[in-house]
Symmetry: none
Subunit: 271 residues, 3 copies
C-alpha cells in the first residue's frame, strides 16, 4: 500500500515540485491569491457560513465560480467552503500546505447517534473512525485520526467560557450519505460506540497529521437520523441553521482569532 | 460488510421510508422541485456546465445556495452539478431514486495516464476500478463498476456520427486529488493498465447498478499529470475549458435528448 | 503476486522466446499450421460448432486427435474448439498471440440465474466476475474482466439487425461445474447480481486484456440451474442445440466476417 509519501527526488526530471503544484492549485480551487490566506483557517461545508463571515467582517468572497469559496478578515482568519465529502477534505488539507497555516478548525455538521444527543449540541471529537477510505492513501489503517490536542483544548475553553456545553467522543466518518435504512451499518455504528457520524472529520485529522498541520473539528449535531423524528428534513435543517449555526460560526471565529495570541504554542515533532 | 440493502421493514416503527427520505432530500440538495426533474440526467462537477446549459435553453438554475445546482430544459433533460468526489457521487445516485430517471450520463474530467492520451480526448470508460472505497458500502469488491451497455453504445454512436474520436478502457477512481508525487501509486496505476484517473466514475457505476439506474460516463482528458508538461495549471485548465468543454457538454446534451426516442430499450432484471 | 508480465529479458540464456514458444504450441495444440489462422477467431467449447462451420464453408477440420480442433473459411474467419474450463481458455488466449488476431469472439453456453432469463436467450456480458482464479496469474483482482467495447458494439448491432434480442449484464465465471446444491454459493451469486454463470468468460476477457487481443463473448443460456425444471438434461440440451445453436453460430460468423470491413477501428493503448 502506498503511504502517500511525498518525495520530489523520485520524480521524472522537469516534473514540478509538490509545493509548487499546491501553490498553483490553492488559488485555482478558491479563486483567492496565496498572499491573502491568513494563518488560521476555518473550514466549512456551507456557503452560508462564508457569506455570514464576509458580511460580519465586510470582506470579499472569492471563488464564486470555483469548487471552493474563501474569505479572509483583517485579523488573519480565513474561512473556506471546501464542499462535502472526504475527497474534498483531503484536497483542501493537501492544498493548505501551500500557505503553512498555524491552525485549521473544521466547523461541520454531524448526525447524532445517541438518544441523549440532542440536535443543536456541540461535539468536540477526540478521534474519528476512518470509515471513509480516503485517509488510507495517507497512513495505514492502524494510525488513529486525531485532532491536535492544544488546539482542541483552546477551542473547548472558548466554548466553556461562552457558557455553552460540548460533548467529547469518537465520531464515525463515512462516504455514504444515505444509510438510515441499512440495518447492518447501524449495528456496526452501535458496536463501535460512536457518538456521531459525519463525512469529513477523519480525513481532516489524518491528512492534517500527514502534512503536519494543527487541526481540530467543532461539530454541530444537526440531526439524529436513527430516530424517526430525528431524520433531517428541509424544515428541521432550517431550524437548526437559524438557532445554532450562528453560535457555531462565532465560536469558531473567536477561537481561531485568539489562539495565536492566547493559545499554548503547538510544537510538532519532525519525523 | 454492509451490502447496502435497503429494506424498510426492518426499520423502527414510524421511521420514514427510504423513498420518502430521498424524495425530501433531492429537492433539499438541489433546490429544485421533484416534478421538475426530467427523465434523462446529465451529471457534472462544473457549475459552468450548468450555466451554459441554462443559457442555451433559457431555463432557470435552481440551488444557488444549495450543495448542488440543477436545471431542466423543455426536452426533459436535467443537468445537475453534484460537486466533486465519490461521496457526492454516491449521494446524487441515491437521491435520484426519488425521480426514477431513465438514464444518467456523467460528464466528467479525468487525468490521462498514457503518453498517447492527449488533453482534449474523450474517454468512454468500459469500467472503473473501485479505488474509492465509497462503493464498498453498496457491493462487495468483486462486483465490477460498469456503465450500462446500451447507454454507452448510444453515446458512442453520437460521438462517432459527430466526427469525434473516443477511447475506451478502464479508469481508476480515487479519493485523492493530489498524488502526482507518490511513486508507489503511479506504479500501481501502470500495473493495472488504467488509461485515466478520476474521482467519481466507479461510484456512479456501482451505486447506479445498486439502484438499478442506467448510467454512463463521458470523460474529457483535462490533464496528463504523469508528464511534467501535463500537470494541470490555471492556464492549461482554461485552455481545455475553452476548446473542449463546449463540445463535451453538447455531446452529452444530444445523447440524453435523443436516447429516449432513438436508443434501444434498456431493460433491467429485477433481483 | 505475478502480474503476468512477459519479459524475455529476465529469462535464462538460451531459453526460447515467448513468441517462439507459442508459435510452436498453437499448431501443436490444434494441428493447424500458423499461416492458416485467420484474423478473426471464433472460440467454442463444442465440436459440433466446428463441424457445422466446416460443412457450411466446405473447409477442412484440423486437430481431430489434438486437444483443440480448428477450421478456417475463405473469409479469414477461424473457429477453434478449445475445450472446457478456464485453464483451457487461458491457454488458447495465450497461444493466439502467435497469430495476432484482430478479434476473438467466444461463443459459449451459460446457465441463467434469473427467473426471467429463459433458455435460448442470448447474453452479451458487459463484464465477468473472476471467480475462477486462473486470471489471477495475469492481473490483480481489482482489474475487471471486460470485453472490448467496439467489438461488443458491433456484435450487438448484428444481433439487433437480425431481429434477435440480447441481454447485457455480469456473468460469474467459476471452475466448479456442480454447485446447484450449494446454498451459500447461490446466495452469493444473488448478492452479486449476476445474470448468468459460466466457466470461461472472465478468463478470456482478462487474458485477452493482458495479451492485448480484442475479445468478446456471446453466450447462449442453455439451462437455468436454479429452478427445478431448468437443470440441464440430455433431452433439454438437445432441444437447445436444435433450436438455438445454429443461430448462435451464425450470429458469430456474421459478426466476425464483417467487423473487419464495417466495424469501427479498435486501437489499443500500448503499456
Amino acid at each position: 500500500m502506498s503511504l502517500g509519501s511525498i518525495n520530489d527526488k523520485y520524480m521524472p526530471k522537469g516534473m514540478p515540485k509538490y509545493r509548487d503544484i499546491v501553490k498553483g492549485w490553492l488559488p485555482r480551487y478558491t479563486g483567492m491569491d496565496l498572499n491573502l490566506f491568513g494563518d488560521y483557517i476555518l473550514l466549512t461545508n456551507f456557503k452560508d457560513y462564508v457569506t455570514s463571515f464576509a458580511e460580519q467582517f465586510s470582506c470579499d468572497i472569492y471563488g464564486e465560480n470555483k469548487p471552493m469559496q474563501a474569505a479572509t478578515n483583517t485579523s488573519g482568519v480565513t474561512i473556506i467552503n471546501f464542499g462535502i465529502g472526504s475527497p474534498n477534505a483531503a484536497t483542501i488539507m493537501d492544498l493548505l500546505c501551500a500557505c503553512n497555516p498555524k491552525g485549521v478548525l473544521f466547523l461541520g455538521k454531524c448526525g447524532g447517534l445517541k438518544k441523549s444527543a440532542e440536535i443543536g449540541h456541540f461535539i468536540l471529537p477526540i478521534a474519528a473512525i476512518r470509515g471513509e477510505g480516503t485517509s488510507d492513501d495517507y497512513f495505514p489503517p492502524e494510525v488513529p485520526a486525531l485532532p491536535s490536542f492544544k488546539l482542541h483544548k483552546f477551542v473547548s475553553q472558548k466554548i466553556y467560557e461562552r457558557g455553552y456545553d460540548y460533548r467529547t467522543g469518537v465520531v464515525y466518518t463515512t462516504n455514504r450519505r444515505v444509510w438510515e435504512h441499512d440495518r447492518g451499518f447501524l449495528t456496526k455504528l452501535n458496536q463501535l460506540r460512536c457518538i456521531a457520524i459525519d463525512m469529513e472529520t477523519a480525513t481532516i485529522f489524518v491528512v492534517g497529521h500527514h502534512n503536519q498541520i494543527s487541526r481540530g473539528a467543532l461539530l454541530l449535531v444537526s440531526d439524529v437520523p436513527t430516530t424517526p423524528e430525528g431524520v433531517k428534513t428541509e424544515e428541521s435543517d432550517e431550524q437548526v441553521t437559524k438557532k445554532w449555526a450562528d453560535i457555531h460560526l462565532q465560536l469558531g471565529i473567536e477561537a481561531m482569532s485568539d489562539i495565536g495570541s492566547k493559545g499554548e504554542k503547538i510544537r510538532h515533532f519532525r519525523y
